[in-house]
Amino acid sequence: MDAGDGGVNAFSQAIVYLNDPYNWTRPNGILDLLVEHVRISVLAVVLGALVALPLGIVLGVSGRGGGAIVVLSNVSRAVPTLALLTIFAVTPLGFSEASTVLALALFAVPPMLTNTFVGFREVDRDVREAARAMGMARRQVIAKVEFPLAVPLIMTGVRTAAVQVVATATLAALVGGGGLGRIINLGFGQQDYGQIIAGALLVAGLALLTEALLVVLSAALTPGPQRFSLPRPWRRQRGAPLDTGASAVPL
């Protein structure tokens, strides 16, 4: 088949695939897989956040562990997600949603940890001092002054982690897991371009939607007037004391 022709055909076949209601509603159809994908992703992000946010706050407030966090985020960049997904699938946990969720949660930790840490570290020393001088207790300073100021960066971490988890949950299908990646995997197995592209459109759409939703959510959660400013590419806006490049990794 002519390659260029195949490309255009594939997209029209994908539209046909996506237009067939049966493909959506049948058991293990798009809707089932979508629900599964979202469930796995939400569980992984929540699990990761339960570890990363408290740890990030404790380390950020005390200002310790910066070096360890940098090492962690660098090493996590070098470990392929596919490897971890596969390794978890061959542990006694076996192919279960639990092993996928655990593997993805592990990858959700570094971006949230790094950004939470940096968020607390970056709070202006003068502001902290002023709050103390006004008679606030240490705990009040953390809850009422430092935390609100750290929220934008914490949310950047959550957004990065969530988009990464949604994207990498796709890979679970390569090792017998569920989620929307199955459509792509099946498409490659059957050399069915239409199905491949349909799966890719769904996965990419879900990732972009996640990003957009979390941008809105973090704008809503950010206190103060700056909340309505559009998010700038994060790399430029933060003169962070650490290189937090972990948040900027393709998935």
């Binding site: 390659a3 195949g6 070098a78 596919l82 971890l84 994207a167 491949i196 890719a200 990419a204 900027a248």
Partner: protein
Amino acid sequence: MLSAAGDVLAADAAPNPWFDVHYVIDNWDTILGYTAQHVRLTVGAVVLGALIALPLALLARRTRLLSGPVLSLSSIIYTIPSLAMFSFLAPFTGPLSATTVLIGLTLYTLVILVRNFLTGLQSVPADVREAARGMGYGSARLFVQVDLPLALPAFMAGLRIATVSTVALTTVGVITGNGGLGQLIIGGFNANFYRAEIVTGALGCVVLALVADLLLAGAQRLLTPWTRGTAA
């Protein structure tokens, strides 16, 4: 753990260690072959990405009008999952071809590098460039002798991030059968969950990423001797 030899039944699970030196020795050629493919894809993607990113970054610096779209387009490419990216390319470049993987990986390195190159170029102080131009530097000489040395740390940082994350990402190429060491990961999975093969592939990726990072860090030290001078 293996129990005493006496009570291992034929029906029992065969030993499935997490790592096996014999596996590595017996399959050395295969491992080497996949490693070579992994290196080829990574180096290819980073070099191609850099060659495309540099002119883009230079253009984007020139006009604010361009830097906005370049940066937002690159955020969108970031967000597209790699498996989807390879899928979009497959009908055009073939579902079983390494070109699909190479182009996909290049797009990601391109995105990382454009940002870092642009950050580096923007960090060159305007008055330094002004002074060089006043001294009669042409634009090519200005780039090579002023911009490049001053932006080099940011350039190298970008290359390191791009290389390390490409090493990890190449594994997803298994969907096309061209995943470098990823082939071992999936191969072991498909060979009745053979852990030694899976772990060898995974460790290989990590080692490859660390070696690449060290090499680039070394290159950076060699290329920017003046930064060492100030540190000492």
